[in-house]
């Protein structure tokens, strides 16, 4: 094992031990903090409940990300490849991104109900803007010489977009995807916490109301786990499609 990894693991283990000690010595009361061992036993005790919640939240997140990629990607692609459309919609997209979306959530519940649909919708809206904006900017940023090259070798407009522009814009698109995915995860979990009938966010809120601190913390751990999974998936995509960019940068 390399030195940085060893030091990192030692630090994490030390942190967990200190955390456990703080609870065992009752420096902080059980309502405020659950020790790592309490969190694990809460997870084991309410395993099935958490499994159901995790499944629901995970599906909501995946659907939300997929829909936002579809919607944000296509709006961004239109805005990025048609200068006039981009000039019309670009500023609108950028300024809407700055609006705190959570203020809309009560309306989302009226529109989509208290079930998963409103969570997915809120997740999609959260992720839509960064994905659309980054896709648009990425496509706009492609050097014009590649367009001329594409036309000269006989590419149709669609071929230029699909085989030249989008691959060149991928690093920017994937960066937007990263921001979008994390916002979608936050969006779904927060929406569940505000009002829902299931999911990780629901468990966190309801367990807190019942003073089940261990369950609250285990819910937080599960939310973290969702983020980790999404991050892992994105890293794989990033490696697969944008490696050339890093290689190129390392040469210069």
């Amino acid at each position: 094992m390399s030195r940085p990894v060893l030091i990192r693991l030692t630090l994490v283990a030390g942190f967990l031990l200190a955390w456990e000690a703080v609870r065992r010595l009752n420096i902080v009361g059980p309502l405020l903090l659950a020790s790592p061992s309490e969190i694990v036993s809460a997870g084991v005790a309410s395993g099935p409940k958490f499994a159901v919640a995790f499944e629901l939240t995970f599906i909501e997140i995946v659907v939300a990300i997929a829909l936002s990629v579809l919607l944000g990607g296509s709006v961004g692609a239109f805005a990025g490849t048609r200068p006039f459309l981009g000039a019309v919609t670009g500023p609108v997209l950028t300024s809407l991104f700055a609006v705190p979306l959570i203020t809309w959530y009560p309306l989302f519940m009226v529109w989509f109900g208290i079930g998963p649909a409103s969570k997915i919708a809120y997740g999609v809206v959260s992720a839509f803007f960064p994905i659309a904006i980054n896709t648009m900017n990425g496509l706009r940023g492609v050097d014009r010489k590649y367009l001329i090259y594409g036309r000269a070798v006989g590419c149709s407009r669609m071929q230029i977009i699909l085989t030249i522009l989008i691959p060149l814009a991928l690093p920017s698109i994937v960066a937007g995807l990263r921001i979008g995915a994390s916002l979608a995860i936050i969006g779904v979990v927060v929406a569940e916490m505000l009002a829902s009938l299931g999911g990780i966010g629901f468990i966190i809120t309801s367990s807190r109301n019942m003073y089940a601190t261990g369950d609250v913390y285990f819910g937080i751990v599960l939310a973290l786990f969702c983020a980790l999974l999404a991050n892992l998936g994105l890293s794989l995509i990033e490696q697969r499609f944008t490696r050339w960019r890093d290689l190129q940068a390392s040469v210069r």
Partner: protein
């Protein structure tokens, strides 16, 4: 018997609107390029050279006048017939050298076996067979331009247009690439039209050099130095070379605005 004419321009004129003011970029540009010849166009930067090249390639339309390739008017890009080698290589960075050569052939519907054969042949021609699976960023600037040339020639064009192809290279690489280009030209017998602002490069490479004036771009002279082939570096110092270079210099400096000289 005279060689057939591959590309011909008739009274090309291009007017742009710059801040709603019509600006003449090209005026009455007429010339013809016989098959298999190497013709260059020199002129100061901003004289409309690149505009002319894009008109020849059918990427931009002229205001009046026409371009004929094999007697056929050019109104849109003619993939496979006219290829362009750009100043900055437009190699696709995520594709390997071979994939970059194959890409236009795939677009143009060349059968797979034929594509592979052409790529292999062209890689050998430009001497990059060992680098076929590398990515563009792993190559030097000169090598990238050699790949661009291979990619252009693999399309079996009637004419290859080159827009300052060695402009971004250092002096030594530039000289070597010139030699390399002549070798490739002689091996393939392709018709080449090259745009450059280097008088020496134009004279060294070409059969005929067209001299263009500063805006509006007009052909102010046609230089045929009649230097023997194969060309060697020694010729650059010869009296004929010097005389031809001087003549070009005078043509450009006789430009009434004088702006061309400053930018050369």
């Amino acid at each position: 018997m005279p060689k057939p004419i591959v590309i011909e321009t008739r009274h090309l004129r291009k007017v742009y609107a710059v801040n709603r003011q019509p600006t003449v970029a090209l005026d009455d540009v007429s010339f013809e390029i016989p098959e298999g010849s190497f013709v260059s166009l020199v002129g100061p930067s901003g004289c409309g050279k690149s505009t002319l090249l894009q008109i020849l390639a059918g990427l931009v339309s002229s205001t009046t006048g026409e371009v004929l390739v094999d007697g056929e008017p050019v109104t849109e890009p003619m993939p496979g017939k006219i290829t362009i080698v750009f100043q900055d290589s437009t190699l696709l960075p995520w594709k390997t050298v071979t994939e970059n050569i194959l890409f236009p052939l795939e677009i143009q519907g060349v059968p797979a076996a034929e594509r592979a054969a052409r790529a292999t042949e062209m890689l050998a021609l430009v001497g990059l067979t060992d680098f076929r699976d590398r990515h563009p960023h792993e190559l030097s600037g000169g090598m990238r331009q050699r790949v661009s040339i291979a990619r252009g020639l693999a399309q079996h064009p009637r004419i290859m247009l080159m827009d300052e192809p060695f402009g971004a290279l250092d002096e030594q690489t530039r000289l070597k690439m010139g030699h390399e280009l002549l070798r490739i030209w002689e091996a393939t017998g392709k018709t080449i039209f090259l745009i450059t602002h280097s008088l020496t490069e134009a004279l060294f490479l070409s059969d005929v050099v067209l001299v263009m004036s500063h805006r509006p771009g007009r052909i102010v002279g046609v230089i045929n130095a009649g230097l023997p082939r194969p060309r060697t570096y020694d010729m650059v110092g010869s009296p004929e070379f010097g005389a031809a270079r001087n003549e070009m210099w005078h043509l450009i400096s006789a430009d009434e605005t004088g702006e061309g000289l400053a930018e050369l």
